[in-house]
Structures are given as C-alpha cells and as structure tokens.
Amino acid sequence: MKSIFVDMLKNSRPFRFGVSAALFLTIMIILSFFSPYPPNESFLVMDDAPPSFQHLFGTNSRGQDLFWQMTFALRNSFLFGVITAVISRVISLVVGLYSGYKQGVMDRVLMAINDSFVIMPVLPILILLNFLLKEKMNWFIMAAVLSLFGWAFDARLIRSKAMSLRFQLFTDTAVFSGFGTRKIIFREHFPYVLPIVFSTTINNMLWAIGMEVTLAILGLTNVNDPTIGVTIFWANQHQALISGVWWWIAIPVIVTVYVFTGLYMLSISINKYIDPRTRLQRKGRN
C-alpha cells in the first residue's frame, strides 16, 4: 500500500495535485479547532482589510477574518458532503446489489423507482423544503434529503456489475453451499463493487457541497453557520464586488476551485489505478 502511494506520487501529476488539495483540506479542518475567533460572531477584527500577513485572506465587511472563516466553512461543507455521500452510498449499494442479484419483479419495480429518481430534479424540491422548514432545518436533515436523491444513478452502476457477478461460478458455489441472499450480496458481491463505490463517493460529495452552496446563495440555509456557500451569500448581500472587497468573493472561489479540482483529480487518478481496463488500454494503444 505504501509503495503504491509513493509510486503514484512519483508518476501521476493529477495524483500529486489531488493529494496536495486533500492535505490543504485536512490542515484547514484541523486548524478550525484552533481558531482564535468564534465562527458565528461578527465585528471581531477591522473590516474590509485586504489580504496581508496579519489577515492571510483579508477580512470582510462583517469584521470577520476570512482565513479562519474559511477553516470553519471547509469543515462544515466537507462534513456535509461526507454525510450525504455515506448515506446515499448505503442506499445505492443495497438497491443495486439486491436488484442485480435477484432480478425478476423486484428488480423491475426497484429500477422503475430508480429511474424516476434519476430524472427528478432535486433542486426545486430542496428549495421548497428549505423554504418551509428553514428554522427547523439543520444540515443533517438536508444531507439526508440530498442522499435520497443522490443514490439513483450509482445504484444503476452497481446493479450492472452485480448482474455480471450473478453468473460467475463462485456465486453458484455460494448458493449450493447454502448461503442466503444477504450473505451472498454482502460477503461475495460487495468486495467487487467497492471500486465503484469509491469512485462515486468523491463525485457525490462534490455534488452535495455544490447543492449546499446553491441553496446558501439563495439564503435558504442557516446563514449563521459558515460554509462555502454561506460565505458567498454574505459577500453577495454586502455587494462585495461593487464595493471593492473583491477578495471576499475571490477567496471562497479560489478555495472551491482548488479543493474541487483536487478531489476530482484524486478520484480519477485512483480510478485509473483501480480499473485495469484503463491501464490495458494505455498499453494497447501506444
């Protein structure tokens, strides 16, 4: 494992970039616990100071230090993405594996539901929900709702893999040894779909964080807890660009681009390693 990591660091530029972004994210999240300022309070430092050594990312019109604000924002947004990804992975695993293994009527019913969820636009429903429950909405509920919509596409991927596993010899062996459905699915088939689970996790996380930003810009989330979206929301509220506080928008934008691109590169470079087809392809066609 360690040697694979070192090899990839040496040979894959996207992987290096991804690791750097992941490191940045980790450091920021750790730093958030040592912040000298509480996250929810404003007017703690001089307002509208441009980036300097004292305030690395500058300060905003609400008198908050943007650097420490970003540490909280990244922590909250990241956590939100992780929770969504985990819940929706569980749903897509159960549905995908079961549906692919069982086939028949259950499969058709599940896939009809699945296709509906693939098509259904989640944003208007989320807007409606947040609009109505704003005070009672916390981001755990929001993550749960997002996962209800985020599992469908990946369940299809898992199902197609499970369908091919069903006809392999080891499945027959397992059936004849008296394994029940649950045991076959989770003991025998689960390890084979792990790469799919892994590769979809990061994309799902990024999607969830993106949704949160969209809702926050609309002012539909709890705008007191800093997240990436909330930072942009306040910048918009104070018309940061027009009043010349450009770093207020630029900082979250740069950080988002760096972290999103980095995590995405990380996922595709690991995918390339996991999926033998892409390796073969490269050898074959050169």
């Binding site: 296709d115 509906s116 259904m120 636009p121 810009i217 609309l218 988002t256 681009v257 590169m265 392809q281």
Partner: protein, 342 residues
C-alpha cells in the same frame, strides 16, 4: 405471410415502457410536492403569512385573504388527506397554480410564462453548443489519443469539469466586469432599449448574455468532452472496429459510421437529461448576471416569501424535466435502429 402484430413489436414495448416511466415520474414528483408542505410541523400557509407580517412585507389585505383561501384549498389541511390530494391534482391538471402573492393578483403561471423564454433561450443555446463542441472534441480525442492538442484539451476539461457552474460565473464576472471591464455586470439588455424583435434589442441581449452563456458553455464542455472521449476509446478497442480496420475500410468511415454513431447514443440520453435541467441549470447564473429568467423569479420568490410562486416553479420544473426526457426517449429510436427493428 403473416402480418406482424404491432402490439408485440419491440418498438411498441419500448414506447409503453417509456410512457409508463414518464407517468411514474410525474406522479412521484407531484406527490412529493404534495407531501413536503405537510411535513412541516405547523400549518405552512399560516406560518408563511406570519413570516410576511413579521418581515413587514407590504401586502394588500385583499391579497392576503385570497391567498389564504387559495392556499388552504390547494395545500391546506381541509378535508381528509385523500380529498386534499385529489383537489391538488385537479388544480395541477387545470394548470391553475394560484395567484402570486408578491405580485397579486397575477397568476403564478403568467409570471413563469414571462420568465421562461429567457431561461430557455439561455439554457437551450448553451447546452446545444457545449454538447456539439464537447462531443466533437471528445470524439476526436478518443480516436486520436496521441495528438498533442488532445492532451491539452483533456487537461483543460478535467480541470474545469468539477468546478460548479456558478463558480465559473463568478470567475468570469470578476475578470471581465471588474478587472478588465468589457462586459456589463448585470441585466439581460441595456437600459432604455425597448423589448421587441429588432436588431438593437437582439444585439443588446447578445452582448449582455455573452458572459453567462460563456460560463455555462465552459462548464458543460468539459463533461461532454470527457464522457465522449472515454466512450470512444472503449469502442475503438472493440472487435468490430478492429475487423473493419483489418478489412481496409477507410478511417473516416470507421470513425463516422462505426465509432461515433455508437458512442453518441448515451450522449443523446444525457442531452435529454441536461435539457430537462432548464430550471436548475442556470439558477445562480441568472441571479449573478441579473437575467430575468426562472432562476431570478425563484430568487425573488424566496426573498418575498412568495410561497405559491415557489410551489409553482417547483411543479413546473418537475414537469419540464420529465417532458423533455420523454421527448428524447421518443426520438431515440431514430438514432438507434436496434429499438426500431428489435
């Protein structure tokens, strides 16, 4: 010779399946919008009215009464849940989404109709452009993976793909409106230009919507390019392509008729899905650049607590997605003879 029974043909089966899927999506979507307000622990209608009062929004008392009765009928808690559900469907089928609260007594449906051309115009052109360019480049990239420009295009696409569309919008806004101010910051056309079908108006619209359109095209492009490239590079390794190459068919024919046609199928489905995302596709872009489409309508509705408008936009966008997916599904047999012929 026995006549072929049309009801047993694979095409008919496909049609029935797709229509069934469409009805299921509409059913689930409408049911969800019916259930969501009822999850709220307090009466959503009264809650919203209270919120508006507290926020000091200026609302005509007559508007309030009419709103209350319309909302109670539509989303309210009168009668059994079953009765409410039936009434909800009745309203929906008549296309009556109630009056807008913030601009009473204009019906919600009229507001949506007015905003829709902007959103559709922006989304349709940008989606089609990015789909076309992305697939073209992606196809070439998959077929000639060793070319130098391909590597650069791939790198660019990989960098831009994971970036959310509104972040791209902000970047373009900062660069082209503040650092190098060559484009207007907001609005769909210049002040003082009268709406109408004349060159001045169209020119103004094009100038004002260039940046938002560019931001949407850039974001879409990366996804289509990468998707098409991986599809093509898989198909190129297939046996039938190898066979065609061995048979001496010229490269252009192989690329056009063997590879691209096969690779395009999933991309066409994808096109249908992203055309369906008219509503959510450019929500923030419209707000950032001040284009009076559905996104901005939603934003206004959220700010002014216009419950009926939000409800209307939600229902409308669910319908929009399912209809456009259905249309693409029905057109699909034109591209894929396997469904036509079975």
């Amino acid at each position: 010779m026995k006549k072929k029974n049309i009801f047993k043909s694979p095409f008919f089966k496909y049609l029935v399946q797709r229509l069934g899927q469409f009805l299921l999506v509409v059913f689930v979507g409408i049911t969800v919008t019916f259930i969501v307000p009822r999850l709220s622990p307090t009466n959503p209608v009264e809650q919203k009215i209270n919120q508006m009062m507290v926020s000091g929004a200026n609302i005509h008392p007559e508007a309030l009464e009419s709103f209350r009765s319309a909302m109670t009928e539509m989303y309210g808690l009168e009668g059994t849940v079953w009765d409410q559900y039936r009434a909800f469907w009745g309203r929906f089928l008549r296309g009556d989404l109630g009056p807008s609260l913030s601009s009473y007594p204009v019906p919600v449906i009229d507001l949506i109709k007015k905003a829709l051309p902007w959103t559709i115009g922006l989304m349709l052109t940008t989606t089609l452009i990015s789909w076309f360019i992305g697939n073209l480049l992606g196809g070439l990239a998959g077929y000639f993976p060793e070319k130098r420009w391909v590597k650069w295009a791939e790198l660019g696409a990989t960098c831009i793909r994971p970036i959310p569309y509104y972040i791209t919008a902000f970047i373009l806004l900062i660069i082209f409106c503040f650092i190098i101010p060559v484009f207007p910051t907001s609005g769909a056309y210049a002040r003082g230009v009268i709406e109408g079908f004349n060159l001045k108006f169209i020119g103004s619209v094009l100038y004002h919507t260039f940046l938002p359109a560019l931001s949407l095209i850039l974001v879409g492009l990366g996804g289509w390019l990468l998707g098409m490239r991986s599809l093509v590079s898989n198909i190129v390794a297939d046996d039938f392509v190898l066979y065609a190459e061995a048979g001496g068919i010229d490269q252009n024919t192989i690329m056009k008729k063997y590879v691209i046609r096969n690779a395009l199928l999933p991309q066409i489905t994808g096109l249908g899905m992203s055309l369906g995302a008219v509503f959510s596709g450019a929500l923030i872009t419209e707000i950032v650049f001040g284009i009076p489409g559905l996104g901005q309508l939603t934003y206004r509705a959220v700010i002014s607590f216009d419950y009926s408008l939000i409800m209307g936009v939600s229902i409308f966008s669910i319908m929009g997605v399912s209809v456009s997916v259905l249309i693409v599904d029905l057109l699909y047999p034109l591209f894929d003879p396997r469904i036509r012929l079975g």
